[in-house]
Symmetry: C2
Subunit: 158 residues, 2 copies
DNA sequence: TATTGTTATACTCTATAACTATA
DNA sequence: TATAGTTATAGAGTATAACAATA
């Protein structure tokens, strides 16, 4: 749908550009040898190094059983370690390895690059304005700053 | 990632708001008794009433085998018909029923409503500016006006 | 022989329940 | 008995190949 009203055009563009940003992100993550979910786990461990799989599951709103294979894969890639915990032999402390921290840096670098490419046609003052308007929409929609509502379902074109 | 640079913040907001628009869309479509894929098929048939499943598959970039169940479901809902084609007994002509056209109207109405809610905090001049800036980004990213790059894969938070 | 729609198969991603080993 | 992690199972959603009817 083209969206005849101004609001309609804006909603379409937001969805169109948002989808494009997301798919570019998937490509970039893939180029770094990871799936988006793995990148997300990496980031979450970095934010709370040493946490348990249970705790990680809660943070990601994901079933613990799902983390098993996920952590297995990241461990096989040498990016994450399951360290024994002194007091409790049931749970592990999840930590990034040096390679894990490096990979995470790579992700951040690539994401920055993507952002710069995306905005390359906007001059500084336009960027400020766009930021402001998007922020207003995000706040109006009840979105919390810095918290991303994961794409959990795939969506066909609007 | 918070995105320290202005470009980073914009990219994050675009992805965040885009995801939100998409998930609201899924909800609205669901409230109308459809899955996003089904809504997409409905829209595509409306745009080229009477086309074959092969042709539809090409337009949607989807394997013909996948359409079988999809059309089955829409036929069971009474929204689409497989009409016999006079000249060729191999292929069907896909048409929307009256109920199908009505449902499509409902979708468009709901999408308009969503767009208005999304922009409710922006006055007319702000809408014009936002539209312009988004359009500039979309064009710079090589996105064609009115063509939505389907979300084919689910993406975890950036 | 080529084309249309269909069935069958497999692979990924995810939700859920049952199990084990510690505590 | 409760908790952490694991295994097993099932259900979507989708890609691919083989097949039957028609051209």
């Amino acid at each position: 749908m083209d969206g005849k009203t101004e609001a309609g055009r804006i909603a379409f563009l937001l969805s169109q550009v948002g989808a494009h940003v997301a798919s570019q992100y998937v490509e970039r993550i893939g180029a770094l040898g990871l799936k988006p979910t793995e990148a997300r786990v990496l980031r979450e461990i970095a934010a709370a190094d040493g946490l348990s799989q249970q705790a990680l599951g809660e943070r990601l709103a994901v079933y613990p059983s799902r983390l098993v294979g996920l952590i297995d894969a990241l461990e096989k890639l040498g990016l994450v370690e399951r360290r024994d915990r002194p007091g409790d032999r049931r749970s592990y402390a999840l930590c990034l390895t040096d390679a894990g921290w490096k990979r995470l840096e790579g992700i951040e670098h690539s994401v920055n690059e993507q952002a710069n490419e995306l905005c390359r046609d906007l001059d500084p003052s336009q960027r400020v304005i766009l930021n402001e308007l998007l922020d207003r929409i995000a706040r109006g929609a009840g979105l919390s700053p810095g918290i991303h509502p994961e794409f959990r379902k795939s969506v066909d074109g609007s």
